[in-house]
């Protein structure tokens, strides 16, 4: 046994139906080390953490986890937490209506025989708040705190559980510069107190600033672990090279692009957050898409890509939206989804289960939903017509299902995605905004989706392609716009596009 490691994950392999999320991934964390995990979206970071935390219980994956020198088999979060492993997720798990102290000891109440001792609770909370450097009263309501302070409450909560290994998933994503620095300082402080941390972050400058070692994941595999002997020995460029340094495979169908006239023009588009109405989620974005063109939209999580797409699609997202949308020479600026559909715009959501499909319904009923009037006469739906059309798409899109009467919830992810695409192709839009259409589906189905997009473009449609996978953007798109923190930071043609350039634009003007 290697005694000088607090955690060793060996040969972890995790498969979801149709997708291999992790393949022989290994991770070694030394005591009191800050270990960063870097990788593109979908590289497998979150899956790895969920395995470590027991969210995917022992037995649902292959491989071995050795923690503090003994093999472990966590069956749920409680088991991993009682061993001292605490995960702080990107979406904070605090209850806004409760006080700081109540949140810290939630599920771990300071009580004797079921009766909570509020004096104990307050005293302990005060100690913990002092340790994390948060100058708030323990009885303050969490809802009244900013995101930065809430993050500190989360860490205090972790400390109350006698944490030995703290895992932070994108802890600074929603924080401003000052709060981020404070948080990173705290991580180093905890390290001096003997607590090891695993830090997942897209902000490479921060990683370079605090990490003692950096493990890079790509496509569910460990690429390398870069040791950081002294601060600043590894810079961002070195990390980016690891994250993207792959050969482009021949996964992308050939296409000859023949861009026609400009179809979509977006001018000075600004969108505010629906709850935090002072925050600009999309900030003064202008772009164009021509007929016959596939235009990519790159950006890290939270860059505002989905928000841009949905707000154009009949204000499906955000408040205080300003700017103009033109289709050809005509200003449309749709205010509702039916308006947008009438103007010839379609939006295929990144979350197909939540926003794209009726999982308990048949393929037929899903395919025709957005354009029922095309199979109806005087509002009476013809089920024959409907079935004929659905069947046409089942064949042309190669949806693998026994029949169009199959329930969509039982199809694989790739086939579900094809059903959503069929729905919008049936609505026959001029512009198709596709948001992460290949997320969570296997390589074969991905390639089919690319071919479908190519055919749409060849038929004179315009496609705006939102994706987190840079290789796919570079393989499919004629041009790529890059968003960072709601702003357009770059526009790259097919020839100039490479991952280093895109990654640089993507991380521009972030904290």
């Amino acid at each position: 046994m290697v005694a000088d490691l607090i955690l060793e994950m060996r040969d972890i392999t995790k498969t979801f139906p149709g997708v291999k999320a992790l393949e022989h991934v290994s991770l070694e964390v030394a005591p009191a080390q800050v270990h960063a995990i870097c990788g593109e979206n979908g590289a497998g970071k979150s899956t790895l953490i969920k395995i470590l935390a027991g969210i995917y219980p022992h037995g649902s994956y292959d491989g071995e986890i050795v923690y503090e020198g003994t093999p472990t088999a966590f069956k749920d979060i409680r088991a991993s937490e009682s061993a001292g492993i605490v995960v702080i997720h990107q979406e904070l798990a605090l209850i806004p209506q409760l006080s700081i102290a109540e949140n810290i000891f939630l599920g771990n109440e300071q009580a004797t025989r079921g009766v909570i001792s509020w004096s104990e609770t307050t005293r302990h909370a005060r100690e913990l708040l002092q340790r994390v450097g948060l100058a708030e009263k323990p009885d303050a309501r969490v809802a009244d705190l900013g995101v930065g302070k809430q993050q500190l409450v989360e860490i205090a909560k972790a400390l109350s559980k006698k944490v030995k290994l703290l895992i932070l998933d994108e802890p600074t994503a929603a924080l401003n510069e000052e709060d981020s620095q404070k948080l990173l300082g705290l991580i180093l402080e905890l390290k001096r107190g003997g607590i090891a941390s695993i830090l997942i972050s897209h902000k490479l400058n921060e990683v370079a600033q605090v990490a003692d070692a950096i493990t890079i994941l790509r496509d569910g595999k460990t690429i390398e672990t870069i040791p950081v002997p002294t601060r600043g020995a590894v810079d961002e460029d070195r990390i980016i090279r690891g994250m993207v340094g792959r050969q482009l495979e021949h996964r992308f169908p050939q296409r000859t692009s023949a861009p026609g006239e400009v179809l979509l023009t977006v001018k000075n588009w600004t969108v505010h957050h629906p709850i935090d109405q002072t925050r600009k989620v999309v900030d003064d974005v202008s772009l164009t898409v021509r007929r016959g063109e596939i235009v990519g939209l790159a950006g890290l999580m939270g860059a505002g890509r989905t928000e841009l797409g949905m707000s154009i699609f009949g204000r499906s997202y955000g408040t205080h939206i300003s700017g103009q949308v033109f289709m050809g020479d005509v200003e449309v600026t749709p205010r509702t989804v039916p308006d947008a559909i009438k103007a010839g715009i379609a939006y295929v959501s990144e979350d197909r289960k939540k926003y794209g499909l009726h999982l308990t319904e048949t393929i037929t009923r899903n395919v025709t939903l957005a354009a029922l009037d095309k199979v109806s006469q005087r509002t009476v739906v013809s089920d024959r017509e409907e079935a004929v059309n659905a069947e046409r798409y089942r064949k042309s899109m190669n949806i693998k299902a026994p029949s169009v009467a199959s329930i969509v919830g039982k199809l694989s992810g790739g086939n579900q995605q094809k059903v959503v695409l069929s729905k919008w192709m049936f609505a026959d839009p001029d512009l198709l905004i596709v948001d992460e259409p290949t997320r969570g589906i296997d390589i074969g189905a991905k390639s089919e989706i690319y071919s479908i997009l190519n055919e749409l473009a060849a038929a004179g449609k315009a496609v705006l392609f939102i994706s987190s996978e840079l290789p796919e953007l570079m393989g499919v798109c004629d041009r790529i716009y890059v968003l960072s923190a709601g702003r357009l930071t770059g526009e790259v043609g097919r020839e100039q596009a490479n991952e280093e350039t895109l990654m640089r634009y993507m991380t521009m003007n972030r904290g």
């Binding site: 989804v337 559909i341 939540k354 308990t360 939903l369 029922l372 659905a390 069947e391 029949s403």
Partner: protein, 390 residues
Amino acid sequence: MDVLRTAFRKNIRQSGMLVALAVIVILFQVLTEGKTLRPGNVSNVIQQNGYILILAIGMMIVIIAGHIDLSIGSIAGFTGAVAAQLMVNRDVPWVLAVLLCLLLGAVIGAWQGFWIAYIGIPSFIVTLASMLAFRGATITTLSGTSIGRLPSEFRQKTTQFLPGDDWGIGGELHDLTLIIGAVLALVAVYTQVRDRQVHTKYGGEALPLPWFVVKCAAIAAAILAFTWLLAKASGFPVVLIILAALLMAYGFTMQRTILGRHIYAVGGNAPAARLSGVKSQRVSFLVFVNMGILSALAGLLITARLNSAVATAGTNFELEAIAAAFIGGASASGGVGTVFGAVVGGSVMAVISNGLSLEGVEVGKQQMIKGALLLFAVAFDVYNKKKVGA
């Protein structure tokens, strides 16, 4: 047998309930030594429960759309009271009074739909408020007493039987009823055949032809036997005609029109429906307007049947309708169910109450049994869904 099993499993909730209904009928037929299927009793069960089945149709649609309506009993009571006031104390012609009351139901439904669909208040709250308010309004309208002696024409037209007994076709049997039965059987078989055509062409697996013929024969036989029983009694009750017409109209609307599809879509996945261009607010609004109209209809029928408007009329109707919908295959999360299922669910409850009454079981025990039935029907559904993995 495998084909049968898969076919059965596919619509287990609905066909299962239909089978359960048949089993329950036979069970009580044996237990009551033949009293259950006596013509007079069948006719009676329909007269007693017709309005609940009508409400169950509306409630099923509300639940499919992802909402709930607790107010229908109070609205039925209120519209019944208004109808009695108009007809008895204001001498309004009964046809006009009926139309006014249906309009009143629509307006009340629109009021609720406005708060639910456009303001975004949960339907539970809005309809709970109406439940309290309109029960109060009923008492006020009746000035604390009851209004009796409604116009006899109004009562006859809504609670009696269809004419057409002596056309010389069926001897002692009620002639028009026999004809209606034959027509209904034909319509039912035709829809089955039509469904099967579309299904075999694009739906893949369908019941093999011999089994399909057996199924059609069973359906036709059931309808004919049922109408024969009615024909032996006094004939076709008006309430059953109303119910059958509503069942066909709403069944068609829910399955075959754009509005129906949109209701399923909104209830099944509201965000996805919205992003598909469905005007979900309008859909929810219309669902409540419709429920208001059906509540008023039920109110009129119960008033005519009781021959008086009383302050407690319609009490617990909402609970019976909700139970009927859930027993008949509705899902608490919305988007699932059929109006036919609601009628089957309502019939199951009606037959059980009737059977227990014939057996002399007291009302308290009847309620306990109905409660258990509701719980187990839904538990069975949840268990079944888990097993299928849908």
